[in-house]
Every structure is written in structure tokens, then in C-alpha cells.
């Protein structure tokens, strides 16, 4: 049972990632337009993506504790390490909040005083969509999540010291987990509405929160497969076998289908209902972001479905790593597509001085802006393409890499603080001898 320690090589690579990310953020900041929509939306996408991954890790851990699930025990310390990132998530979201009050960004249409004054819909929502509620709920809820994450990890680690496994500690662990599940279930929906859905401030969908959560879940599982494979090459997690990967593969396969099910339910009902207030969300994405709109369905459904359908592909390193990389990037792109169009639209509304009828003239205002931009940049002809919004550019991927580096660095540090093998867990023996 090797104790994990972050190596100097890992440190330099991860700091390199973070350096690239920081550089990309700085470059984005300086080449960006007024109000810096590209810079801030990149910041928001990555903050939400990685905070969500650590939230869902906590949620799944709790679900597993109370469901008498044993097979994940040999690698549960990795998920516990993910959950500790919530504190960083809290700080990242606090930066967004500072921007909200300081007027540094226009990520949210509802935060713009001029728009609010002329927009009845936004006024109707202002009881929920305002900087105060955003701040209180964000800090309060992520704070509570972090509290649970710490408590559950502390209890889990306290099992290690006991020579024979303690039913009492395990019982406590189950109680705290059971307490977190309803809290996490209710509060995550509120944060998804505030952080992501309110980017398209006029639009609403009751399914949205569950859809976003499913996206986080698949990303979290994919990252777990990738990290476990990496750690095994270094000689850590020696008890994680091909059978554990097989089960993780089933999860990625199953939850990719689940994500698609939610995607389809949301899309189909809105398409079939054909109510303008609702279809605008998909219409914008289909017309102006076709590569991403259709692309994420291929990346997040078709590819993992066919790659992981067979039994043996879930047991082979090559196919599992490939599928994990695909869906991890795919779900990041999903968040990209959730956030970017709304931010760009708000930017045009605010910067272009649009008054009301915001959702109606999206195309025209966007085109007008792009024509003027294209002229300024000396382009031959205008198109609706806008780098960093229509598709992610190098700067976006660089920023993503930076946040990934931050997340991994934090996780590695946390892994080093406890045994990798939870010696006192009552399910350890089952997990070590796990066979599918």
C-alpha cells in the first residue's frame, strides 16, 4: 500500500498547465471586446464544470454509502479527493460574484440595470435573478456542500485507524450521506438555474437542472477512468483491477445514454410544443452553432455508445481511455454550448444598446455586430462565425487546460493526505476481490 506523494515532475507539468491557462486568460482578456464576454464566459464555463464534477463526486459517494455499494471502495479516496475541490469552486464562483457587483462582466442579462428597466420578463424574475440571491445561494450552498465533503472525508479517514472495521463509524458515515442526498438534490437545482440557465435569462426548462447534473456525472466518471489508468501506471491503486474498470465503463455507457435521454426529452418536447419562447433556445443553437449542436450528440452519445457497447471494450485500456477522453471533452463542450450563446446574446443586447424584444432580433443584431467587427478586422466578408463563441479556439482549450491543471493539482495534494487504500472500510475485502 504505497502512500501517494505528488512528484516534482507532476508538479511541474501541472504548474505548466496552469501557466498555459493563465496565459490564455490574460491573452483573452486583452484581445477581448469591451465587457470582455469571451474572457468571463471562459472563466464561468470552467468554474462551473469543475465545481460540478466535485459536487457530483460527493453526491455519488453518498449514494453509494447508503446503497450498501462495495465495489468502489478501492478507489473511493479518489472521489473523496474530488469533493475537496469544492472549496476552490467556492472561490472561483466568488470571483464571478465580485464581477457581478463590480460590473466587470455582463455574463447575466438580468444583472444589467438598463435591460432590467425595459424588460417585463426580467422584472418578473428579479425576485430570484438578482446579485443578492446569486451571492447568498452560491456561497451558502457551496459552503454547505463543502462542509459535508469535509465531514464525510474525515469520517472515512477515521476508519483507517481502526484495526477491525467499525460499524459505528460506518453507521455515522451513512447518516451524514443520507442527510446530504436530499440537500444536494434540491440545492444543486437552484445553483444550476442561477449559474447556467439564467445565462439565457428569458428561457426556462424544468428538466434543465437534471440534464446538467447528468452531464457532470459522465464527466466525473470519465475523469476517474483516466486518472485511475494513469495512477496504475505509476504503481498506485494496485487493487483496482480490470473488473473495476469494467464497471466504470458500464457507468459511462449507461449514463451517456441517460444524458441522451434527458437531452432528447428536453429537445423533443420543446420542438413538438413549438412555443416561440422555448424554441428560441434550440433555434439559436441549431442555426448559429451547428457544429457544436450536432457534434455533441455524436461525441457524447454515438461514440461512447458504440465504443462501449461490447463487453470486451470495457475491459481494455485503449478503448476505455479513448471513450473517456471523448466524453470528457464532449461534456465540456456541452457546457460551452449551454453558456456561450446566452453570453454572446447578452453582450449584444448590452453593448448594442438593444431595448426589449431581446430574443426576437438576436440574429440581426448579431449579424450587424459581426459585419462591423469583420470590417474592423479587415476580413473579406462577414459571417456569423465568431471565434471563441461559435467554436472554442486555442484560447478556450488553453484555459480549459489551466483549470484542469488546477483541479488535478488540488486532487493530487488531497490524495497525498490520506491512505490510498481505505484500510478500515467494511467493504474493502469485497472490493479487492471484485469480479464482474
Amino acid at each position: 500500500m504505497k502512500q501517494f506523494e505528488i512528484s516534482s515532475k507532476q508538479k511541474s507539468v501541472l504548474f505548466g498547465f496552469m501557466g498555459v491557462g493563465l496565459l490564455c486568460l490574460i491573452i483573452t482578456f486583452f484581445i477581448d471586446d469591451a465587457y470582455r464576454p469571451r474572457f468571463w464566459s471562459n472563466f464561468l464555463i470552467n468554474s462551473v464544470f469543475f465545481t460540478g464534477i466535485s459536487f457530483i463526486a460527493l453526491f455519488i459517494l453518498c449514494a453509494k454509502f447508503i446503497a450498501y455499494s462495495g465495489w468502489q471502495t478501492v478507489f473511493k479516496r479518489l472521489w473523496e479527493a474530488y469533493t475537496q475541490f469544492l472549496i476552490v469552486g467556492l472561490i472561483l464562483m466568488a470571483i464571478i460574484i465580485v464581477g457581478l457587483f463590480g460590473g466587470f462582466h455582463h455574463l447575466y442579462h438580468w444583472n444589467d440595470a438598463a435591460s432590467l428597466a425595459s424588460d417585463t420578463l426580467l422584472q418578473g424574475k428579479s425576485g430570484f435573478l438578482n446579485a443578492g440571491v446569486y451571492t447568498v445561494l452560491t456561497l451558502g450552498i457551496v459552503g454547505v456542500w463543502y462542509f459535508f465533503a469535509r465531514k464525510i472525508r474525515a469520517l472515512s479517514i477515521s476508519e483507517d485507524g481502526q484495526t477491525t472495521f467499525s460499524r459505528i463509524t460506518h453507521q455515522k458515515l451513512k447518516k451524514w450521506s443520507a442527510g446530504f442526498l436530499p440537500i444536494g438534490g434540491f440545492t444543486s437545482a437552484a445553483l444550476v438555474w442561477l449559474w447556467i440557465m439564467s445565462v439565457d435569462a428569458h428561457w426556462y426548462s424544468t428538466l434543465y437542472a437534471w440534464y446538467v447534473t447528468a452531464s457532470w456525472l459522465v464527466s466525473m466518471l470519465a475523469l476517474t477512468v483516466l486518472l485511475l489508468h494513469y495512477f496504475k501506471t505509476l504503481g498506485y491503486f494496485e487493487y483496482v483491477t480490470v473488473d473495476h474498470f469494467h464497471d466504470l465503463g458500464k457507468y459511462i455507457f449507461g449514463f451517456s445514454i441517460f444524458w441522451t435521454y434527458l437531452w432528447f426529452s428536453q429537445f423533443m418536447l420543446i420542438w413538438y410544443g413549438n412555443v416561440g419562447e422555448e424554441t428560441i433556445y434550440f433555434k439559436t443553437r441549431q442555426d448559429l452553432y451547428p457544429a457544436l449542436f450536432y457534434g455533441i450528440l455524436i461525441i457524447n452519445f454515438v461514440l461512447p455508445f458504440f465504443i462501449l457497447l461490447r463487453n470486451d471494450t470495457k475491459r481494455k485500456t485503449g478503448t476505455m481511455v479513448a471513450a473517456s477522453v471523448i466524453v470528457f471533452i464532449g461534456h465540456w463542450l456541452d457546457f460551452f454550448l449551454m453558456i456561450k450563446p446566452g453570453v454572446l446574446h447578452t453582450y449584444h443586447e448590452v453593448a448594442g444598446g438593444g431595448h426589449g424584444h431581446a430574443s426576437m432580433n438576436a440574429d440581426q443584431s448579431m449579424t450587424a455586430k459581426l459585419i462591423s467587427d469583420a470590417g474592423a478586422h479587415g476580413a473579406e466578408h462577414a459571417s456569423t462565425f465568431q471565434m471563441g463563441f461559435t467554436i472554442p479556439g486555442f484560447l478556450e482549450f488553453g484555459t480549459f487546460l489551466g483549470f484542469l491543471g488546477l483541479f488535478l493539482y488540488f486532487v493530487f495534494i488531497q490524495l497525498g493526505k490520506a491512505n490510498l487504500v481505505p484500510k478500515g472500510d467494511p467493504y474493502l475485502g469485497e472490493s479487492m476481490n471484485h469480479h464482474v
Binding site: 500500500m1 447508503i66 450498501y68 462495495g70 465495489w71 417585463t120 420578463l121 418578473g124 424574475k125 430570484f128 477491525t164 472495521f165 460499524r167 460506518h170 443520507a178 442526498l181 436530499p182 438534490g185 434540491f186 437545482a189 438555474w193 426556462y204 426548462s205 424544468t206 428538466l207 434543465y208 437542472a209 437534471w210 494496485e238 487493487y239 458500464k250 449507461g254 445514454i257 435521454y261 434527458l262 426529452s265 428536453q266 423533443m268 418536447l269 420543446i270 413538438y272 410544443g273 413549438n274 412555443v275 419562447e277 467494511p426 467493504y427 474493502l428 475485502g429 469485497e430 479487492m432 476481490n433 471484485h434 469480479h435
Partner: protein, 471 residues
């Protein structure tokens, strides 16, 4: 299945049973003469069934006018009952397929009866669309077969048609799944029987000999059917929810409907399983196979799905306000405080508030509380459908057409009749087939039998140490 079992797990078979005891205990109910209780229950069920048939004939003879449907409320008890029964029909396949994929061993005690219940519930459900068309003799118009009706062709754009496909597919796969599991158990009964009874079970068991080849094919088939059944379970109630959500009626057109209907269906299905299993285990003396541990696990599922449904209710309420759409806001205000406020509060109390008592272990393990709760949940889930359907339709865009709806005796009679169908089938099932899957329970004896649990304790630490030494 992992051979090493943590001693923290509770036994799922009690009474230190041997393989032979299991065969004896589970076969016994179908080998003795029916008890007086059974006969009495059967008479009641058949009477209800008869009354249901009478009410249906009344409907066909006099037409749908014998129901109280009115100008805006074109869907009343019929569709409410339809959705309610389809929902109940979710637990069986969920237990067999999804819990199989999640390797939950406790499913073996209850899967057989739950699957049977699924099939009977789906039969009850399928009845309603059939009679709701009014002219039952043209029911074959439902099916997209070549015909001479010209433009009278099914509407492929209609979720009602998708429903037909979803439910008939689900029914077929559930039936196959259930029957596949029954084959080895019928063979066990056959081997113990003689005379006509032996011939009967010989026919039912397809000449099963229990050879390795048979088991191998049995396992492959079960796995394939489980793989097919899993998406089907989700699809059925998803499409039922589409019946409502594809419309543009405020209160119906909401994207959360598909997953929320599925959660609600599992919720009500488990409640019905509880109702039946609590009686069955007592009457047939199967307490060693359907233990308190099973009941507690099912109560946890009820708590989980009940809370999920609660999250969905609150999401709907919140988003209705958030949408800024006055009709949507009115629809939900009307649900809670309109003419049918009592139905809404019955729904909220039974579905969201009352299952919360299952946070306490004592309550989860109390047979009395579980039984009362299982009835509560079924009442609550019936009201949920009634709230969605009647409350919404009673208040449409034109205040001049606002109306109120109460069922006639015919509608109530048909509903009671479905209970007759359901219980007649279920009672026959308990006489003919083993209500607990014999072969499946045997497969978990060595890992979950109480006498082996004590053995696990001794070997468990050794299993860990051996593994550590290997590395």
C-alpha cells in the same frame, strides 16, 4: 458475484435454510389445497371483476355518454386509471432488470411476484385506452396494418400511438422475461408432481432438464432480455408523459415530465409490491425469504423516489413562477388552491410528506407502518394523475367553459373492475407458480444465508490479508 462478502451485510435468507428447505418451502403453497382465506379472496376478486365487466358492457351499450366527461374534461378517471396502472407496472421489470444490472441481491426474494404484478397491472392499464375509444369494435384501427380505409390511417405524429407501441413492446418483453425465469421453477414443481399435475408442469417447463447447456442458454437469454427491458422500463412512462407534455396546455407542457413520470412510476410500483408482498409472505409463510431486510430496502427506494417526485413538484412550481408566463402561473396556482385543492393536498401529503417517515429505521422495519404507507403512496399517486388531468382540464383559457367533473358509477365500476382483474390473476398466480424464484434464491444462499453470514466474518479479514500479501 463476488465470493467475498462483507460481514456488515445482513442476511437475506433466514432460518438456516438448506437448498432442500428452499425447494420445500417455496413449492409448498402450490402443492396444498387452497385455504379458506384464498377462496374468500378469490370470490371477492371475481365479483369485482364481474362488476367491472358489467360496467364496461354498459359503457359499450350506452356509449361514453354514460361517463361524466364534459366540454373541457375529455379525459377523466379512465386516463387517470390508465396512467396509474401503467405506473404500477414499472416495479417488476425495474426489480428484475435494473437491480440485476446493479447486482442487488435482495431482488431475488421479490422479483417473481413483482414481475407477475407488472404483467397484470399492464393488462389493467391496456383496458382503458381500449374502452375509451367508445366504439370498441373498430379498435383494430389502432394498428398500422394495410387496410382499405383510405386516409383513415394511424397518426404517427401522435404520442398516443407511440404509447401503443411502447406498452405492447414492454408487455411482450416483460412476459418473456417473467416466463423465462419461471421455466426452471416449473421444472422443479414438475419433478415433485405426479399424474395430470406432472403433465401440466411438464408442458409449462418446456422439457427443462437442468443440463449445463440449458443453464448456459438460460443465462444468455436472461441477460439479453434484461438489456432490452432496461430502456423499455424508461421508455414506457416517458411516452406516457409525452401524451401530456407534447401538448401546449399549461401544466402539461413541461420538460421535466419524462424523468419525473418514471420516478413516480417506480414509486407507485414499489408501493404496490409492498402491499402484495406483506400479505403474501404472511399468508404463504415466506418470511424467511422476504425478510425485513427486503422490506427495508424497498422502503428506501420508496423514500428515494418519493423525494425525487417531490423535487419535481417543487421544480414545476418554481419554474411556473420563474417563466413569467401568466397561464403557466395560473395553472399551478389553480392546482394548489383551485376547485380541486383537496386532490392536490392529498397528492402532496401522500407522495412527498408521508414517505419522509422512512428516514427512521424503526419505521422502515415496521410491517404495520409499511403497509399503511404503501396504501398511502398508491392513493397519492392516483391523485397525482388526477391532479394533472382533471385540474388542468377543468380550467382552460376560456373562463366561460370552465367546468367540474365527478365520476359516474360506471366509471367507478370499471376502476373497481380492474382491481378484480388484477387480484384474480394474482391469486391464480400464487396457486400455480412459485411466488419466489427458487433458482434465484438458491443462487444467493451461500452469500446471503444467515448461517453463512457468520462464516464470512471469520474469513473476511483473511481474504483482505491474502490480497495484500499478493502485492
Amino acid at each position: 458475484m463476488s465470493a467475498v462478502v462483507s460481514p456488515i451485510r445482513e442476511p437475506l435468507i433466514t432460518g438456516r435454510k438448506s437448498y432442500h428447505d428452499i425447494t420445500e418451502d417455496i413449492c409448498a403453497p402450490s402443492e396444498r389445497a387452497p385455504s379458506l382465506t384464498w377462496v374468500f379472496a378469490f370470490i371477492v376478486a371475481v365479483t369485482l371483476l364481474g362488476f367491472g365487466v358489467f360496467s364496461i358492457l354498459w359503457t359499450i351499450w350506452f356509449g361514453i355518454g354514460s361517463w361524466n366527461l364534459n366540454r373541457t374534461i375529455g379525459w377523466g378517471w379512465d386516463i387517470t386509471n390508465f396512467v396509474w396502472w401503467v405506473g404500477i407496472g414499472h416495479a417488476g421489470t425495474l426489480i428484475s432488470a435494473i437491480l440485476l444490472l446493479f447486482r442487488q441481491k435482495w431482488r431475488t426474494g421479490v422479483n417473481r411476484a413483482a414481475e407477475a404484478m407488472t404483467i397484470f397491472a399492464v393488462i389493467c392499464a391496456a383496458l382503458f385506452p381500449g374502452i375509451h375509444v367508445g366504439r370498441m369494435w373498430v379498435i383494430f384501427f389502432f394498428f398500422p396494418v394495410p387496410n382499405t380505409r383510405g386516409p383513415l390511417w394511424v397518426n404517427f405524429n401522435s404520442p398516443l400511438l407511440w404509447d401503443l407501441f411502447a406498452i405492447s413492446t414492454y408487455f411482450t418483453v416483460s412476459l418473456l422475461f417473467w416466463y423465462t425465469g419461471l421455466v426452471p421453477d416449473f421444472a422443479t414443481l414438475r419433478d415433485r408432481a405426479s399424474g395430470l399435475r406432472k403433465k401440466f408442469y411438464n408442458f409449462l417447463s418446456f422439457g427443462w432438464t437442468g443440463s449445463a447447456k440449458h443453464w448456459s442458454r438460460f443465462e444468455s437469454l436472461s441477460l439479453i432480455l434484461a438489456g432490452l427491458a432496461t430502456p423499455l422500463v424508461l421508455s414506457v412512462h416517458t411516452i406516457v408523459s409525452f401524451d401530456f407534455a407534447t401538448s401546449v396546455i399549461p401544466g402539461w407542457h413541461t420538460t421535466i415530465f419524462p424523468p419525473y413520470f418514471v420516478a413516480g412510476a417506480i414509486f407507485s410500483g414499489f408501493a404496490m409490491v409492498q402491499t402484495l408482498m406483506l400479505i403474501t409472505r404472511k399468508v404463504l409463510k415466506l418470511e424467511d425469504y422476504i425478510t425485513l431486510q427486503h422490506i427495508e430496502s424497498m422502503n428506501k427506494v420508496i423514500l428515494l423516489t418519493g423525494t425525487m417526485v417531490g423535487v419535481a413538484y417543487l421544480t414545476e412550481l418554481f419554474i411556473a413562477w420563474y417563466s413569467g408566463y401568466v397561464y403557466e402561473q395560473f395553472a399551478f396556482l389553480n392546482r394548489a388552491f383551485g376547485v380541486y385543492w383537496w386532490a392536490y393536498f392529498a397528492m402532496m401529503t401522500c407522495n412527498v410528506l408521508s414517505p419522509q417517515i422512512f428516514w427512521f429505521k424503526k419505521m422502515r422495519r415496521s410491517i404495520f407502518v409499511t403497509f399503511v404507507m404503501s396504501i398511502f403512496v398508491n392513493i397519492g399517486m392516483w391523485f397525482e394523475r388526477f391532479v394533472i388531468i382533471a385540474t388542468t382540464l377543468a380550467r382552460d383559457y376560456l373562463p366561460s367553459s370552465w367546468s367540474y367533473y365527478t365520476p359516474t358509477w360506471v366509471e367507478i365500476g370499471i376502476y373497481l373492475g380492474t382491481f378484480g382483474i388484477f387480484f384474480t390473476f394474482y391469486l391464480l398466480f400464487t396457486r400455480i407458480a412459485p411466488v419466489v424464484a427458487i433458482a434465484e434464491v438458491k443462487s444467493i444462499l451461500k452469500s446471503s444465508g444467515d448461517q453463512y453470514i457468520e462464516e464470512h466474518e471469520k474469513h473476511y479479514q483473511k481474504a483482505i490479508d491474502n490480497k495484500v500479501k499478493q502485492h
